[in-house]
């Protein structure tokens, strides 16, 4: 089995299923903190998906996209946490 085929038929469907689960929690989540956790998880899934896509299409420059998502996701998490703590 080649790396490309495994990424396309193994890893990316699993990541898509996890994105669906996280999105359901994002829509349901009773409190604001639940939604923040779901967004954090969606960011991690997005990083994994970009890495898997980079391997699937053999385009390793996409690692920069994953890095940018990681940076923005951390900043978003910190901003969300401060907002939850301040604004009740």
């Amino acid at each position: 089995m080649t790396i490309e085929a495994f990424m396309l038929w193994g890893a990316m469907p699993a990541l898509a299923a996890s994105a669906v689960c996280a999105t359901i929690r994002l829509l349901k989540g009773p409190s604001l903190a639940d939604r923040a956790v779901a967004v954090d998880l969606l960011g991690a899934i997005c990083i994994g998906f970009v890495a898997a896509f980079a391997l699937a299409v053999d385009e390793p420059m996409l690692v920069d996209v994953a890095l940018a998502i990681a940076l923005i996701g951390f900043l978003g998490t910190v901003a969300f946490a401060r907002y939850i703590e301040r604004g009740a």
Partner: protein, 128 residues
């Protein structure tokens, strides 16, 4: 050598995608925020890091590999920090615990005015 590299990439990607799937199922099915965070914060950081390490192993360019490893390190450093900040903020804003919770070591330890954590809950004074 090429076969070894392929096997290593596929193994790392399997671990990474599986951990992310476990984190997502956990965040969907566990009963309260703090249990959900215990699933997502650990499994998601390790899962995404495993996929980035798989990308680093697969690439023949050193610059790409170093960037992917730096991304993995950044995730492993920042995800626990972000999870701690969200968990602390949620606990301070009185997010309800699961009704089956048997023990809450922090009950009464946070001062709601100064938002500082004491080692023990304040002793009740006789006139209080």
């Amino acid at each position: 050598m090429e076969l070894l590299r392929t096997a290593l990439v596929i193994g790392l990607a399997t671990i990474g995608a599986g951990l992310l799937l476990i984190a997502a199922v956990g965040t969907l099915r566990l009963p309260d925020l703090f249990l959900r965070m215990s699933a997502t914060s650990k499994a998601s950081s390790l899962g995404a890091s495993c996929l980035l390490v798989a990308l680093a192993v697969a690439s023949t360019d050193v610059g790409i590999a170093v960037r992917a490893l730096a991304g993995a390190t950044f995730l492993l450093l920042t995800t626990p920090v972000g999870a701690h900040m969200i968990g602390r903020a949620a606990y301070l804003s009185d997010t309800p615990l699961w009704k089956g919770t048997v023990r809450d070591d922090l009950r009464g330890c946070y001062d709601p005015d100064t938002r500082t954590l004491a080692a023990h809950p304040p002793a009740k004074t006789p006139d209080a």
